[in-house]
Symmetry: C2
Subunit: 443 residues, 2 copies
């Protein structure tokens, strides 16, 4: 009998809550996203809850949103991932530390070196979320007037990944002999000079740091496009995805796992973790009221803008207190439009309520009791909708504490989540192999 | 009566010892330069000794030295500065954290953001050692076939500094109102868009992080050339220098402080800290024997190479056990040649001993008892040879522990070093003002 599959849980923590109203919720820390003492408390609580990893998204600009929305956003001031995750390495012992680093505006040597250093500092807990940056405001911060087109960004990302992993393999694990008698600190025969010359990069190497504890930090990706799925299938070990329903989750899971096998890899060596906002209550009604109260804190301007984007029409002329009127078909995304309409009907929402739902967080959410949330997560796991979740909290600290104190024990009771860490590295938490060194396969 | 001037002490810790034989010394930790637990112990000890700052040099390549020297070097694997200093922020409370970041191969937005993040994470203890990179091996790691020439590197560095400090000033200190009632997280009127367009950089801004705790992290430089001195006089708050004698120290001090005043700044707002290797013994003889034993661990090939460079002639044909022969004049640096000859005569050194001295560490050193070392440091302070030192340890942990346990109390007894930290930020330790925000002078 095969061992029972278990959930893997990441905590999506930049921002500390994806919900735009989170910082205003009664009892929430308004400055949580930018307070090191609060953040240290959160990651320690997540480690108490045996989470696989703390996950940091990243942005290379004050986000490109209208000023009316921007001035209400708690993401405008944030810590930088390498510095924050390194600070956390000393504050925790087991939880993984996944940071986002873009391949669009940085150099492979810097990225390889910083993740290797974080991996050594944390005893093998680093993960690299590889992204490409399409935000035009970010391009302007790096001297680019025009954004690189999508396919070119992905070609660059692919080569960037090859260079970074090649640099990580600069030294065999046994290179550093430190023989005080002979005076040999390392064996040059166990050092490889990469000498990469490609379309985008020319990088000599070697890296000036020993091979990471994990061989390579865990490779994480979030691309959903065809290019993104293919890159993930070939290179990623964790995929964060934004599917909105269990049906969409299963379709994504089936597609990506098939691509993984086609690429000659084991399907178990890539874990699929959809993002999910989780709102916990002692009763279903209480959880729904919490969600409604939270959505009610979303400013109407941002809310109507989000609804207009979803529907593909200007929603500002709709009666906010009335039901959603008939919406004409447009060239906008059909799935977004249909989802919004279905949501309004299913929950009997007014235009304002629907707009605030989408403006707060329009993606996948589990709103219920510890039992109903565990039911849903178990169904996703058992029916191959996912290998776990990248959990988002509605507000902090309460929403995070509720998940760790109430949902985690219920998952553990069912045997679908660890009761304690069994290894020390992020790879061990995720059940991923340590990659062999391509230049020193014997080491 | 003016307050008594006091020494400022940095600890030069990358590598943990500048001396190439350090890792082989009996009782030393051979892996100290790359062991996070050891390094955490060292910085805590330095904080116990009330040091102003922990200082990390940096290199962007496995150093360009012959393989015979390289394989004996403990610097070949090292932590990256942003990650290591961030890890230290949580392990310490007061000591400053100075990291080196080159302006030659990185983007101002990244550097501004990472130092701002480190400054917030550490509660205002960050310092930026601004360097330009001339190592041709480093250039090859970033796709450059040729090294940029000296003056061009300095022009780029100057503009880089302007952009970074401009980005740090993106927000007024009072910008983040976090008003849960109105929903305004920050006041857009208190945000400045830099819109820099210059010779080397086009950077829009704003930075996506609040203004650093210190306003700006402390600006540190080490340039000794005319360009370097002038840049330091205009922009630096700490200068690390490699002068080799108190006379050279006074000449440098007089020149740079005059340039500072000519640039319209207070001479007290730039601190000059020469690097100095300090070897402590209970007697003068014991200290000298320690130094000789340490120098004896330097490999002859590296030693003779260092001597040849200093003299400007090939020293490999000299009798290693004989005295230094007559050396012809060449086009090489006169001061290096004269210093080597004077050193050999003054201490009656054989060719091998002289070569090992220069190959271990040829710069300024204080070798003696806590009293004679304190005498020397006091003379440098009182006669304006320096404002303190960037201390290098001969080996660790013993050399570092001896300085903190024996030399620091002697300096404190004389009233020329603090008995405890009086402030919480690096600026406060150094007696430096918090820079006003150029865009929000009222804040």
């Amino acid at each position: 009998m095969p061992a029972q599959r278990r959930l893997h849980l990441g905590a999506f923590m930049r921002p500390v809550s994806i919900h735009t109203g989170a910082w205003r919720y009664p009892g929430a820390f308004p400055d949580a996203n930018f307070n090191i003492a609060h953040l240290r408390r959160f990651i320690r609580k997540l480690e108490e809850g045996k989470f696989d990893a703390f996950f940091m998204a990243d942005h290379l600009a004050v986000l490109n949103m209208p000023i009316e929305a921007l001035k209400r956003s708690h993401t405008v001031t944030s810590f930088e991932p390498f510095t924050l995750l390194s600070a956390f390495a000393g504050a925790t012992e087991r939880i993984g530390l996944v940071g986002t680093a873009s391949t669009t505006f940085d150099a492979p040597f810097h990225i390889a070196r910083r993740f290797a250093s974080l991996d050594h500092i944390s005893g093998g807990r680093a993960g690299w979320n590889i992204v490409t940056t399409s935000n035009p405001d970010a391009a302007l911060n790096f001297g680019h007037d025009e954004q690189t087109e999508h396919a070119a960004r992905y070609r660059r990302a692919r080569e960037f990944y090859e260079v970074v992993t090649g640099l990580w393999d600069s030294f065999a694990d046994d290179a550093f002999v430190r023989d005080t008698a002979s005076g040999f600190y390392f064996d040059p025969e166990r050092m490889h000079v990469l000498d990469h010359k490609g379309e985008h990069f020319s990088v000599r190497g070697p890296l000036n740091i020993a091979r990471p504890v994990q061989g390579w930090p865990v490779i994480v990706q979030a691309g959903a496009s065809d290019d993104g799925r293919q890159l993930a299938a070939e290179t990623a070990e964790v995929v964060f995805t934004a599917v909105n329903s269990i049906e969409a989750g299963r379709a994504f899971y089936t597609d990506v796992k098939a691509r993984v096998e086609k690429a000659g890899r084991s399907r178990d060596h890539l874990k699929i973790l959809p993002g999910a906002l989780v709102v916990v209550g002692d009763s279903l009604d209480e959880a729904r009221e919490t969600r409604a109260r939270l959505d009610g804190l979303v400013h109407e301007a941002s809310a109507i803008a989000a609804l207009s984007i979803a529907l593909g029409v200007d929603a500002s002329s709709f009666d906010p207190d009335g039901p959603l009127p008939e919406v004409p078909h447009t060239n906008a995304s059909k799935s977004g439009r249909e989802r919004a309409i279905a949501l309004a009907r299913a929950e009997n929402l007014t235009v304002r309520q629907l707009a605030q739902r989408l403006g707060g967080y329009g993606g996948l959410s589990f709103v219920g009791t510890p039992q109903t949330i565990a039911d849903a997560m178990e169904e996703w796991l058992v029916t191959e909708g996912s290998d776990g979740f990248n959990v988002m909290f509605p507000f902090v600290p309460e929403g995070l504490d509720a998940f760790v104190d109430k949902v985690v024990p219920e998952l553990q009771r069912r045997g679908i989540f660890r009761r304690d860490y069994e290894g020390t590295t992020l790879r061990e938490h995720l059940g991923l192999p340590r990659p062999p060194n391509r230049f020193f396969p014997d080491a």
